[in-house]
């Protein structure tokens, strides 16, 4: 169970997040929609302290951390309960696929090397890239890199995986394979928060959909409620642009 309370963040005079609350059950898949600049990515990045929020708190598994007061030890502990998949994949360029996956296990989690590589190989298999074990990121397509990115996040068996527009940088042809992997992962009961613009994917995968704009949650509900029985005018406008996608 993850509880996020009143998270706020400003960049200078720009108020990006205006006090957002969210609680997520174990195994739940939450999809966050919204126009660019609405604060979705900042929200995710605040959750694992890649940005430091100005106020609010998060508790994962009874460990409570206040955003503005957290010490580096608490931040590290929190980061070790979360994992992130990035828009630009952000694999380590000087490491091979398998090395990317096991890095966090060996260095952060201090798991013995052979054990880490076993876990790594399992995950490579899971994302369908077993034969790319020793390939470097520059030898992989965007879709393959992102699947390695997902495996890197999964390796840490985090309480929650944060997906920051995982398919936005991909060629349209490669989006499918990546989404398939995410769906497969979701079925295994991993808790996820996903920021995406893939509406049909959101509809299919989400347990709960959140529509955000200007740093506040505009509408929240099951995919059916948000997509088909939309209450808020602003959400309707936003979804109308994607009507063809459904």
């Amino acid at each position: 169970m993850i509880e996020i309370k009143n998270i706020s963040k400003s960049f200078g005079k720009n108020n990006i997040l205006k006090g957002i609350d969210l609680s997520i059950n174990k195994g739940e898949v939450v999809v966050i929609l919204g126009p660019s600049g609405s604060g979705k990515s900042t929200f995710l990045r605040c959750l694992n302290f890649l940005e430091r929020a100005d106020a609010g708190e998060i508790s994962i598994d009874q460990t409570k951390v206040e955003f503005n007061k957290a010490k580096s030890k608490e931040i590290l502990a929190l980061r070790r309960k979360t994992a992130m998949v990035f828009q630009q994949y952000d694999l380590f360029h000087h490491k091979s696929a398998i090395e990317n996956i096991v890095e966090g296990l060996i260095i952060a989690r201090k798991i013995p090397k052979h054990k880490a590589y076993e876990i790594g190989m399992d995950l490579l298999d899971k994302v369908g890239l077993k034969e790319k074990r020793d390939a470097y990121p520059h030898q992989l397509s965007g879709g393959q890199q992102q699947r390695i990115g997902i495996a890197r996040a999964l390796a840490l068996t985090p309480e929650v995986i944060l997906f920051d527009e995982p398919t936005s940088a991909l060629d349209p042809e490669l989006v499918g394979e990546t989404l398939d992997v995410i769906k497969k992962v979701a079925q295994t009961g991993v808790t996820m928060i996903i920021v995406t613009h893939e509406m049909s994917f959101a509809y299919e995968i989400a347990d709960r959909v959140i529509f955000m704009e200007d740093g506040v949650v505009v509408e929240e509900g099951t995919p059916k409620e948000v997509f088909e029985q939309t209450r808020e005018e602003r959400t309707k406008q936003f979804l109308a642009r994607f009507a063809y996608a459904r």
């Binding site: 980061r79 979360t82 990035f86 952000d90 260095i107």
Partner: protein, 236 residues
């Protein structure tokens, strides 16, 4: 004007005798300067208060001072202060006993450090920010991010440029006769002082400088093959 090839060969051998000194004056400042330069680059990269401003000025100032002046000022400072400091710490060392090569190495290190710190700073800045975020996101500490993600990518980027610095250092080391160090140039000139055949001596020394720099270039080219691979890795 007749050119005395026999004497040129003599001067060549005399100069060759001091090749280790010249190499030392190239390599040691490169090593010391790289260590200090990487430190300065990191301090400036992380914008550590006070220190980063201090080193910014250090770099700006030393970039603009000719190496001759750094050598001469170092010599004066050393000659003035070594005995005093040794006295106050009751060490038995005297300035007159101090190997002048250390003064030259000190000065050349100062000369190289500012440039090297800029090389490392550029390399640090070229590591995509996202990779560093990713490293933090998998739970690495600051030191682990530095050691596991940043440094391994900075070194291959900086290495080709370090070769350039080494060549400049080897050439700059020809000035150390000003602080009475005998390097290959000075060694050949001592030989020429006997019969005033300076042209032969200069040409003999030029050949050695050329050979040394060509050897360094060859190493660079050999490294280039490897670097190209890892650079493709960097910017694929």
């Amino acid at each position: 004007m007749d050119f005395d090839f026999a004497f040129m060969f003599e001067a060549f051998l005399a100069a060759l005798h001091y090749l280790p000194t010249t190499l030392l004056l190239g390599f040691l400042p490169l090593v010391f300067g790289s260590i200090i330069g990487l430190g300065i680059a990191l301090i400036r990269h992380y914008k550590i208060p006070i220190l980063s401003v201090l080193f910014k000025w250090f770099v700006t100032i030393f970039k603009a001072i000719p190496v001759v002046l750094i050598l001469l000022v170092s010599y004066l400072v050393f000659s003035d202060s070594v005995d005093k400091i040794a006295d106050s710490l009751s060490w038995s060392i005297r300035f007159s006993d101090l190997d002048r090569r250390w003064i030259a190495i000190f000065a050349l290190t100062l000369y190289a450090t500012s440039g090297l710190s800029e090389i490392f700073r550029g390399a640090l800045a070229s590591i995509p920010k996202g990779q560093i975020d990713a490293a933090y996101s998998i739970g690495l500490t600051n030191i682990q991010v530095l050691r596991r993600v940043m440094i391994p990518q900075v070194i291959p980027l900086a290495l080709p440029l370090l070769n350039n610095t080494l060549i400049s250092l080897i050439k700059a080391s020809s000035l150390v006769s000003m602080v009475s160090v005998v390097d290959i140039l000075n060694g050949a000139l001592i030989e020429a002082n006997v019969n005033y055949r300076y042209l032969e001596a200069y040409i003999a020394v030029s050949l050695i400088y050329w050979a040394v720099c060509a050897a360094i270039e060859a190493v660079t080219a050999g490294y280039g093959k490897y670097a190209n691979k890892s650079r493709r890795r960097q910017f694929a």
